[in-house]
Amino acid sequence: MELTNGAEATVKLEGGYLTKDRVAKRYRLRELDERIRKERTKAESRLMSEARRLGIPTPIIYDVENSVIRMQYIPGTPLKHVINDELSERLGKLVGLLHTGGIIHGDLTTSNLILYNDRLYMIDFGLSFMNCGVEARGVDVHVLFQTFESTHHDHKSLTEAFCRGYRHVFTGADEVLDRVTEIEKRGRYA
C-alpha cells in the first residue's frame, strides 16, 4: 500500500513495515541526483538511530539498501492536524534533546512529527546532519517557525510554547533563539 508520494520519496507499507524509497528525479542530472539520494539515505538511517539513542522516539530501522530504507511503521496522526500549545512545548523538548546531541533535523515541519500512543515520533531525517553550531541550530528552528507561520493560524502561541520546551532541556537555547530572530531579519528582503 502506498502511503505518501512526497516530494522526495515514495513511502509504502509492506508486510507490516514501511519502505521509504528515494525516487530518481528526472529533472536533475543523473550524477547529481544519485549523489543526493545516496547521501540522504545514508545520513537519514544513521541519524535516525542516533536520535533514538538520545531518547527521541523515531521508527526502528530494519534494513538499508542503496536509496531504500525499511523501517518500523508508526500509525499515528501527523502533528499538523493536532498541534496545540502543549504538543508544541513537547516538540520543543524533543528538538532540544536533538540539538543537545549535536543533530540537526534539517526539515522540521509539523508533517514530520507523528502523534502515536501519546508519544511524539520524529520522522524523515532525510536532510539531517551533525552540527553543533548556533547557525545550523538556528536555521533548524527557523524552518519550523516558518511552517508554524505559513500553515497554522495561532503561530505566535505555538512558537512561545515551543521555546518553553526548548529552553527547558537545552542549555544553549537562548543563544539559538536569538539567532533565529537574526536569521529572520537577515534573509534577503526579510
Partner: protein, 330 residues
C-alpha cells in the same frame, strides 16, 4: 472589477510605467538602467530613474491617448512600494505621488513580489498556483493560504540571479550574468560537483557562487557555468516540488527575470509533468520587472478599496509579500 490604473515599477534597474484596465494592458513604456561596468549601482540606478521618469510617464500617457484613454480616465496611481533599492523606490514613489495629486486620484502602494504573481494569474490559466519567483534579488516559493501569500521557502542569503551575477563578474562576464551563463552552459555536459544547499524548504546560494568561482581555477568556464546552473536550478525545483507536496496545490507559476532561462523551464516542466500538475509561464514581457504588473495589482487593490493617503505612502525596501493582507481575493 472595473477601472483604469497607471502603475510605475522602479525597484531596481528597470523603470517602467504602464496603464491597464480590467481587459488588458493599454500602454507600457520602459527604460532600463544598464551599468557601464560591474553590477547595479543603487545611486546611479536611482539617478537614472529620476532622469527618465518624466519621459517614461509622458510617453505612456501619449501611447494610451492614441488608444482613446486620456488622463481623466485614470482612476488611481500605483507604484512599487517595495521590496527594492531604497533610493530607486523613493524616486518612483515621488513621481507617483505627484501624479496622484495632479490627477486628483488615490494612490496604491504595491508589493513587487505579489505583482509578479498576480500578473501571472492574469496572463496565464493558473488560478491557485505555487509560485516560484526567481530574480536578481529574490528567490521565493509562495502560495496563497488564509488571506495571505505565504512564503514556503526562500533564500537564506542572496537571490539566485544575484549569485549568478556575482559569479559572472568574477569570471569577467558583463551584467546581467544569467543569459551569458546560459549560453556558455550549453557548450558543456561535464558536471563538476558543487555544494547543493537545501535546508528544509529554504535555500542558500552565496556559498555556491563562491564555490563556482573557486572551481574556475581548475575547470573550463563552460563546465563551471553548466554545473552552476544544474546545481542551482535543481535546488529551486526541489523546493518548488516540496511546496507542492506540502500545500497539495496542482499548478506551478514561474515568475521573475531568471525565469527566462530555458534550462530552468525545462526542469520545472519535467518535475510538473512527473507530478501530474500544470506548469505556467507568462510571456517574456511579464516575467521580468514591468510596469504592467504594478498597474494590474494596483487595479485589483483599488477595486477592493485598498488605497493609501500620501502621508502613509512611505516606501519599504524590506517589504515582505507575507506582510500584505490580500484584500482582492475571495
Amino acid at each position: 472589477m472595473k477601472g483604469t490604473v497607471l502603475g510605475i515599477e522602479g525597484t531596481a534597474w528597470n523603470l517602467s510605467a504602464a496603464i491597464v484596465n480590467e481587459k488588458d494592458v493599454i500602454a507600457e513604456v520602459t527604460d532600463t538602467y544598464s551599468p557601464a561596468t560591474g553590477g547595479i549601482h543603487p545611486r546611479e540606478a536611482a539617478q537614472h530613474h529620476a532622469r527618465y521618469a518624466s519621459t517614461v510617464i509622458r510617453k505612456v500617457l501619449e501611447e494610451a491617448k492614441r488608444k482613446g484613454i486620456t488622463p481623466s480616465d485614470i482612476d488611481a496611481i500605483a507604484f512599487s512600494q517595495g521590496p527594492g533599492l531604497g533610493a530607486c523606490l523613493r524616486t518612483v514613489a515621488t513621481a507617483a505621488r505627484m501624479l496622484a495629486i495632479k490627477f486628483n486620484v488615490p494612490l496604491v502602494g504595491v508589493n513587487h513580489c505579489l505583482a509578479h504573481i498576480e500578473i501571472g494569474r492574469w496572463k496565464t490559466p493558473a488560478r491557485d498556483p505555487v509560485t516560484l519567483y526567481v530574480s536578481g534579488a529574490n528567490s521565493q516559493v509562495l502560495a496563497y493560504r488564509m488571506g495571505r501569500y505565504r512564503v514556503f521557502g526562500e533564500t537564506l542569503d542572496i537571490g539566485l540571479g544575484n549569485a549568478f551575477d556575482k559569479f559572472a563578474r568574477s569570471a569577467g562576464l558583463s551584467h546581467p550574468g544569467g543569459p551569458k551563463i546560459e549560453q556558455l552552459a550549453k557548450k558543456s555536459t561535464n558536471y563538476i560537483p558543487l555544494p547543493y544547499v537545501v535546508k528544509g524548504m529554504d535555500l542558500s546560494f552565496s556559498g555556491l557562487s563562491t564555490a563556482a568561482t573557486e572551481a574556475l581555477k581548475r575547470n573550463s568556464l563552460e563546465d563551471v557555468c553548466y554545473s552552476l546552473q544544474e546545481t542551482a536550478f535543481s535546488m529551486i525545483v526541489e523546493v518548488t516540488e516540496r511546496a507542492l507536496a506540502h500545500t497539495g496545490k496542482n499548478e506551478v507559476l514561474l515568475a521573475g527575470g531568471v525565469g527566462a532561462n530555458m534550462r530552468l523551464r525545462e526542469m520545472l516542466d519535467i518535475m510538473c509533468s512527473d507530478r501530474g500538475v500544470s506548469f505556467h509561464v507568462p510571456e517574456k514581457r511579464y516575467m521580468g520587472d514591468n510596469g504592467a504588473m504594478i498597474a494590474y495589482l494596483g487595479l485589483l487593490m483599488y477595486s477592493s478599496g485598498d488605497v493609501m493617503s500620501i502621508e502613509n505612502s512611505h516606501v519599504n525596501p524590506n517589504f515582505r509579500p507575507d506582510d500584505v493582507d490580500v484584500t482582492w481575493l475571495e
